[in-house]
Symmetry: C2
Subunit: 338 residues, 2 copies
């Protein structure tokens, strides 16, 4: 197991140097020798030992990926996109789950830096407020790319969704349908995407001369079906004549729909409900829930592309310039807002 350069060299009566160069297509090796070596290497299925090569090249062809919540379907679609591109370019992906914990996120970053991965992709945990570990990556040999849950305070390449616009569109849609009192089940106060979606909601109200009322807003910590149910119940207790509800995740919207169904509140006749993320369950529940589709797969692809570009710049000793890619989103209309 594990043929070495030396063995091949011996077999072919050339030096290890020549074998190494031939396999890397160096221009100072004769075509005839290259052919001979390449053919033999192919025949015996030789693959250079990556760990040994790293010691010289400083490249592992490994990427570290930190996802905040491994149960979130959205991230799998992102992962699928990344994996497709990684495969094409001979990279392998180490997957990590920060479990929404800042501390664990920091430890995982340390482990990945220590593994000398060529790049680290992170979607931040909900409660990450200190960014020392991200700056550590920026000072390491690994490229850093943030996706989906990012921070304005870190200067690196990013792939995000236009969350403000999305919050706006979801809210505007309810207004267009005739809703007068639109509530909002929003996410926590920290991550940028939660902030932005909420801004979108406010901005839509403002633009349509609706009064913004904090009583209509509830904050969900976990963004679960349970949370959605509970918060909707609380909103209805206030008797505010709610006739629209913008939920900033599909699980929250499903919880809201469940509460309404159990309490005989008609959807969309009495209240229109809109979700976000376009997970499968949103289309399967009765009534199907209007949602906003994020191009998750595309997000994965773009993240990899940004990374590959940075690697190329690095190789050519060009100064890497950080970019932010903003992805499109699409309102998927269903019965819950008909």
């Amino acid at each position: 197991m594990g043929l070495t350069l030396k063995e091949i060299a011996k077999e072919l009566n050339v030096s290890p140097t020549t074998v190494s160069k031939a396999l890397q297509n160096y221009s100072d090796i004769s075509e005839i020798t290259k052919e001979k070596i390449k053919n033999y290497a192919r025949k015996v299925g030789y693959q250079p030992n990556k760990q040994a090569a790293y010691l010289r090249t400083r490249k592992t062809k490994l990427i570290g990926l930190i996802i905040p919540n491994i149960e979130n379907y959205f991230f799998f679609k992102v992962l699928k996109g990344m994996l497709q591109e990684a495969n094409k370019n001979e990279y392998q992906l180490i997957i990590c789950n920060s479990n929404e914990s800042e501390d664990l996120e920091k430890k995982l970053v340390d482990d990945l830096i220590n593994q000398k991965v060529d790049g680290i992709f992170i979607s931040l945990a909900k409660d990450t407020i200190n960014f020392d570990h991200l700056n550590k990556v920026l000072n390491s040999e690994s490229s850093l790319i943030l996706f989906d849950r990012t921070s304005r305070l870190v200067n690196c390449s990013k792939v995000v969704i236009d969350d403000e616009k999305m919050g706006f569109i979801a809210t505007q849609n309810l207004i267009d349908k005739g809703c007068k009192k639109i509530g909002n089940l929003r996410g926590t106060l920290i991550p940028q995407n939660s902030i932005d979606r909420f801004s979108g909601y406010r901005n839509a109200l403002e633009k349509n001369n609706f009064k913004f009322d904090t009583n209509l807003v509830a904050i969900s910590k976990k963004s679960t079906v349970k949370d959605g149910y509970k918060l909707t119940k609380e909103l209805f207790k206030k008797e505010l004549e709610l006739d629209g509800l913008v939920c900033f995740s599909d699980p929250l919207a499903i919880g809201a729909v469940k509460f309404c169904k159990e309490n005989g509140i008609g959807i969309p006749s009495e209240i229109r409900v809109s979700g976000f993320g376009n997970i499968e369950s949103a289309s399967v529940i009765t009534p199907p829930i209007t949602s906003i589709d994020q191009e998750a797969f595309e997000m994965g692809v773009k993240t990899m592309e940004l990374f590959l570009k940075e690697q190329l710049d690095l190789k050519q000793k060009i100064n890497v310039s950080f970019k932010t890619i903003i992805l499109k989103t699409k309102l998927i209309e269903r019965e819950s807002t008909a």
Copy 2:
């Protein structure tokens, strides 16, 4: 970036050998020296370079995982279990998607062997019928563990679900509820778990003196909602007085429910439908679908445990003996079979 042993040795006026041994707690280093070295290493945050260490230890602390379908929620729960245990034991996980392709599966195995991962966990692609690549793993330095979709033809450790029993239970439940003509939307003919679940269906019929009728069985290639819809439609066209349907995946069951709802066929009044896998959508749809819960998280944990045990045996030069762990399953009763 990247402090080395040598630098630490120089700083502390000892040899690199001593530093290496102290950090590994060798017994032939004095306590006082160990203390000094460990403290310093901790202070400066020294971590040995894994790639360089590999060259001597032949261990990468890396595990390769091949999943056949990255969009399947089941595998994410498995992954979550694996990740939890991996983290505890300082392993990192390289994730790969075979996309149900035997060819890609073979390539990924090659890549992982080449990466010198300590272990490879695979859930086989649906159409994998040749096992040369698995035998290659068995002859390599990496341990092989199959989970969920395995094969009797490969001799290695495995973690599986008692699929036969599960098929049996789902079918028996419908019989107990009074169904007389029970159909079956089954999976493809190859993977072991599809074969076994189908056997469970047949065995339950037999045990209850029901006549087995191939007309009542439809084979789904993709196990999707669409497939479920289409196949259910076809079954109903045959006018066999179907009053029960055992589906060997939740998406299939959801498709079946959709067809029935759209065509005014009452569930469970006219037909009872049972799924498998207990995905979220199964509980969210109206009516909620009875399903069988697989202990996915547990499967991930057990797979890791089996692997860790093998590593330990290897280290102690004990002959590794392959084990098969069979996990429990549980029928989750819901309205669709009430």
